[in-house]
Amino acid sequence: MALLTVTDLTTHFHTRAGVVKAVDGVSFSVGQGETLAIVGESGSGKSVACYSLLKLIPQPPGKIESGTALFDGRDLLSLSEKQLRKVRGNDIAIIFQDPMTSLNPYLTVGEQLIEPLLYHRDMDRKKALQRAVEILGEVGIVDPEKRIDSYPHEFSGGMRQRVMIAMALIAEPKLLICDEPTTALDVTIQAQILKLIRELQQRRNIAVIFITHDLAVVADIADSVAVMKEGRIVEQGSVDAIFNHTQHDYTKKLLASIPKGAKPIPARIENQPLLSIHGLTTTFRDHSGGFWQKEPKLVRAVDDVSLEIQHGEILGLVGESGSGKSTLGRSILGLVPTSGGSVVFDGVDLTKLSAKQMTPMRRRMQMIFQDPYASLNPRMTVFDTLAEPLLYHKLTTRKTVTKEVLALMDDVGLARASIRKYPHEFSGGQRQRIAVGRAIATKPELVIADEPVSALDVTIQAQILKLILELVDKHNLTMLFISHDLSVVRYMSDRIAVMHHGKLVETGETEPLFAQPHHDYTRRLLSAIPLLDGPTPAPAN
């Protein structure tokens, strides 16, 4: 018999704008030792469905309208708050998506870890702390005796997620709900965390519900899959059935939008460098040595990097966060001061230009930023955002600017009617379209795209990537495409440069590099990508 059987679960949100059917008659079950993956885009109701089981949704406006959730013979949905409290963290534990915000910044990690033991097991503090040290060690935290008194901000993202996992497992739950546990993490760390969850599950023989938008992750770890869309489960079955005998159109669309495969080298590339960098170095002062340290250490964020980008080429720049790839992008544009080397753009060394001489160059080089929520000014309409660079660089006059902006909106696929709307009235994908439009408004030659799709859902991601490729062709752009996501980079780039600790460790044409990486670090990166076809290495063409 299944450990948890959910039947016809319905959760609605009663908002001023009307009733939102977040979860609309959902049924699924998961047995001991099994992993069920619930897949869907953000807003599909997959998280709400799982939080509803423990009544962790905000009520009001949320309301569980109907359904049953039999867990160990009891219906969770009809338990009182007090009975439910005994289930939370004790029988069913949750690992949340964002380890940065899900830990209390004001309490030490140890204090937060032992709470389930104190309240569910009546354990005394000393014993509980001992247990906390053990479990921190078990999830791979080095030196757990010392780390137990640290605060969350003293851990990296991956380490914090390990702490979350330890916290979820400390009371030995029977069911573990993982809500996008790796979405906020780097690809190499993602692989480690997935492996850790799998190992811990097998060791303890517990049931796992794994919520994710990433089908590629699912293939590696799940026994069965439920695909959710708009509050309903559209398709459900074993991993094999979902991946190899796909029934529903939406699932097919999800599968198709995972970037994969190779592409021929396009004709747009001319064999003549637009940008060449020699020995570029950017340093930051590091104050982490503490208050008493006399001289701050110099950190070389970009360390003696040399590379060339040809006219019309898309060069992919990959590396983990902290590898210096964003800093390299910003150094090229002169957005951060460089401390050595040269950046030659179309025959002009940018590092030697004054701020005033730089202005006309800026028009020719633009940047697309990662977060479409943060990088657009919330008080400027689409028109203001797109018109500003046109007017500033005197590319158009006040009379003709509206026409130019409309043409630009057509280019990036935004409805003309939304010209007077503000950023918050758009979805994430549409906002990134605005950001792309802003970047190409000045008809630049070089565009630096810094993780342009990492904040987006996978289907939206595919649309934006396609848009960028079309625009590169149409406007004859040259692009430096920065991303930590190797499958995205593979889809986009003609050539790839790999960065590690501020240094360029390897460059090469996309497919040969994927087939035969030379550097150790590149190999490690490649083996960390979750693949659709399981843990086998990537096929070479």
Binding site: A93, L103, E115, H287, F291
Partner: protein
Amino acid sequence: MGRFILSRLLQAIPVLLVVITATFFLVRTAPGGPFSAEKAVPPEVVKALEARYKLDQPMWQQYLSYLDDLVHGEFGPSFRYPGRSVNELILGGLPTTAELAFYAMLVAIFIGVCAGVMAALKPNTPQDYIPMSAAMLGICMPSFLMGPLLVLIFGIWFEWLPVSGWGDLPGDKILPAITLGTGYAAYIARLSRGGMLEVMSQDYIRTARAKGLPEWVVVLKHGLRGGLIPVVAFLGPAFAGLLSGSFVVETIFQIPGLGRFYVQAAFNRDYTMILGTTVFFAALIVLFNLLSDIIAVWINPKLRHQLREGR
């Protein structure tokens, strides 16, 4: 940390200098002087007095010699209380005022935090509206209205508490403390409501609930610490405000504190006394602002960390 405190103390010097200079020249440009009385005083006497208190010197010379006194910790002699220095007068009144301010602070924190947290736990319900409307009323009501009202109700109608005095009758400190504290209680209520509302919607509160903790642990242990940061930042200025703003309450309840000296000094044109008290209060305000900043850093591990990194 040491460097942070030192730099803040150094920043205080220009602030105090501006306060001293402005007050020094303002009180002297006000009409009348310490020795102008209704009864005519012989000119020789006035001259002698002015010479004794250095008022016959040019303004800039008076200013410089006052600064010199200040550097040596001397506020100078009082013009109206012959033979007593401003230092003595301030130190005489300070303990009473400080005690009053301390009790008022306790009242303000207790009522304010309770009301604010209560309101934040059930936003936009009667549990929110009622304390918050009361808080609005508390902010709007001046202490010269609040004090007599409380006296009327609890002192005269019910005869529960004494109507005036300080330390003479049991319970005579209660009404002044409440009168002085309520205004600040209202501010604290609004601040803690805002802070708690923000914190209670954080992801880590959901984490705490998902661990199956009782709701009071979620609120008091996980919520309160972050939720009260805005309150802590307000406490320093509030305490300084209580000290320097106590004169109305001191006058209503006949309390021999510093505030009454201050008001009388202004009426009497007691230059040194006005200056001395102003400078003293300004220094207190700077000091308490610094103190509340230090406490805010101390309860927030992230800030503690950043400060250590020298950012």
